[in-house]
Symmetry: C2
Subunit: 366 residues, 2 copies
């Protein structure tokens, strides 16, 4: 027992070579002869040596980690993006350091610690707007920054057009003959720049206006991002009696679920008495047969992370700014047509202890 920790020097001594050579072996340099390569690798194996991350970070000047700024992770839509980001980073050998942001002060704190201490090589912001002065600083330090579900000029980003999405949803309801269309959305989180709901609302207004319908603020309601809140707001709209909406556009599927629930409690038949469309195409909207606007959530994460990987490799992010496509997914909550049973997607077999759907089928579920 000579030394506590085995370092690169230990390996070098043991293998009878210099530390430089060991380092070259570790980094796959081709400046090493076959014979010494084998010998060094053997020694590494024998000593069970692994280079220390923080040491190589220091001398290389990079951390091989990427910071991910994200808010309200619990929302399924945010989650999906996050998973996309993490998976791509992980495949590229980069650590994903997640920072959960609840308010503006926290955002600032995290940003300054991330940026100043250089604890990560790059930053991916999911849905959050980074304050201008921070962006300036990030630029000056040449730290790559990628925006997911967000867009700013001259920055690599992956985003959707929420205004267009809101229009699509509203047009869908208009095309079904609805004239009194309500809107239920989030409270704006302007401090964090999360404005998807408000943008979708803007699209809603535009679609109405294009159809020659003026805004009726009695049909508009906003609250926290939860089904419960949406149910309460929807109930309030239903109590307008004759003036109640015949259709509702909920700015997310989570809210749409609440609307559906409230409608059931008010004995409104869907879609005859009330048509509903949501946004995001979450799994819950599929199972509850809710019409929605599909956006590629996971893809926004993977594409954003891919851009980051490119940037860190010194390449240019291929499509620098990328807008993902949206499309309406009409389902029973607006059309009323019973959609096909999902049975065919799965093969149910008899197992030894009950029915069974084989795991492979899991891939069929998005």
């Amino acid at each position: 027992m000579r030394k506590r920790t085995i370092s690169i020097a230990t390996v070098a001594a043991e293998a009878g070579v210099g530390v430089g050579t060991v380092s070259r072996v570790l980094n796959g340099s081709d400046q090493v002869s076959e014979a010494t390569l084998k010998r060094v690798l053997g020694t590494i194996e024998r000593l069970d040596y692994r280079p220390l991350r923080s040491a190589s970070s220091l001398s290389k000047g990079r951390t091989d980690a990427v910071g991910i700024l994200v808010s309200v992770i619990t929302r399924p839509s945010v989650m999906a993006r996050l998973v996309g980001v993490i998976d791509v980073l992980s495949d590229a050998g980069l650590d994903a350091v997640v920072f959960n942001v609840d308010n503006r002060a926290q955002l600032d704190r995290h940003l300054s610690s991330i940026i100043d201490q250089r604890r990560v090589d790059g930053i991916i912001s999911i849905s959050l707007r980074i304050p201008k002065e921070r962006i300036a600083r990030i630029r000056k330090l040449a730290i790559p920054l990628v925006l997911v579900d967000n867009s700013l000029p001259n920055l690599p980003c992956v985003y959707i057009d929420d205004v267009a999405g809101g229009k699509l949803a509203t047009e869908h309801l208009l095309s079904l003959g609805h004239r009194r269309i309500g809107f239920i959305g989030d409270n704006a989180r302007s401090d964090l720049g999360m404005s998807a709901s408000e943008n979708r609302y803007a699209g809603y207004l535009m679609a109405l206006e294009a159809a020659g319908i003026g805004p009726d603020f009695d049909l508009v309601a906003r609250g926290p991002h939860s089904s419960e809140a949406a149910a309460v707001l929807a109930s309030a709209l239903f109590e307008l009696g004759k003036r109640r909406p015949t259709a509702i556009f909920a700015s997310s599927d989570t809210l749409a679920v609440g609307v559906i629930k409230a409608a059931q409690q008010h004995r409104l038949k869907i879609p005859d008495d009330l048509a509903v469309i949501g946004f995001d195409n979450l799994e819950v909207s599929s199972i509850l047969d809710i019409s929605t606007v599909n956006q590629p959530l996971l893809e926004s994460g993977t594409k954003g992370a891919s851009k980051m990987v490119s940037l860190l490799n010194g390449e240019i992010a291929k499509p620098h700014r990328e807008e993902l496509v949206l499309d309406v997914v009409p389902r029973g909550s607006s059309l009323g047509i019973q959609r096909n049973s999902p049975t065919k997607l799965y093969g149910v077999v008899e197992g030894p202890k009950g029915l069974q759907i084989l795991q492979g089928g899991e891939e069929l579920v998005s």
Copy 2:
């Protein structure tokens, strides 16, 4: 322009002190006189100097980061735990490095890279079982390891008794007079050690046996963890005709949603024709009025992370092993009693552009 990066040496020179003194200032040592403290702080401020994380990691021998191993993040239950973990770590000034694990090989790869390269100071495993040989290695290297939603002897962990939970759920249905009780669960992921569903199944069998009811494997079904799959499986059970179950215990709320949906398609009235109970008490079960077994998800994360923080501070994790309590939340899907409208939780007010629930109300939603 003298030096590219401002290091501790720059600050020392500029302030006319030694590097040691600057370091002491940075680390809040009390071995510094008031006068020099002020001077050094002033210089730091003026130069806008921040210590480099990787350099201090190297010399301190720790990274101030914690690795989080987690699988299928997209499940709301996993999500909630993860958020709890991240928030507590963040408050303690620790980075949360998230590793998403899809299969056994990936788990091994991540573990070896985490452990060998010492890229983190501690490891928190959410729901995943760490292979024995890895545990041995982790122990030998004295890397703190905390298990969340998992339990192993002699390791700090936060867990629930899934078997007892399965019993609770089944007993609830038995107490309502049901005798033909079905079970719908996940496919076991034995490779990752995610056995919650199977444990709940064991509890289900125990409760039945205690009630003098033998197992009927025709009423048991397993599939992927999705509402869609659960709907398919439930449909299959409903087609048993007279022999169909009058109640179903779904091993998670996500599956329960699928069961409810399938029941509606089969024109079964809930709970008269079919009673349903789920597990986890997710938000969706509340809005859809599904009975469930509540487990403190967020809390499991915060408690686990707190243990980690203690361990990293050299303290002993207070309750070394901690079992969280479960309780049945009876709702309409089994009792049939219309639960109170959630209206009272929220104050709806008239805003300038539509109805409004003030953001403060968000706290009322779990």
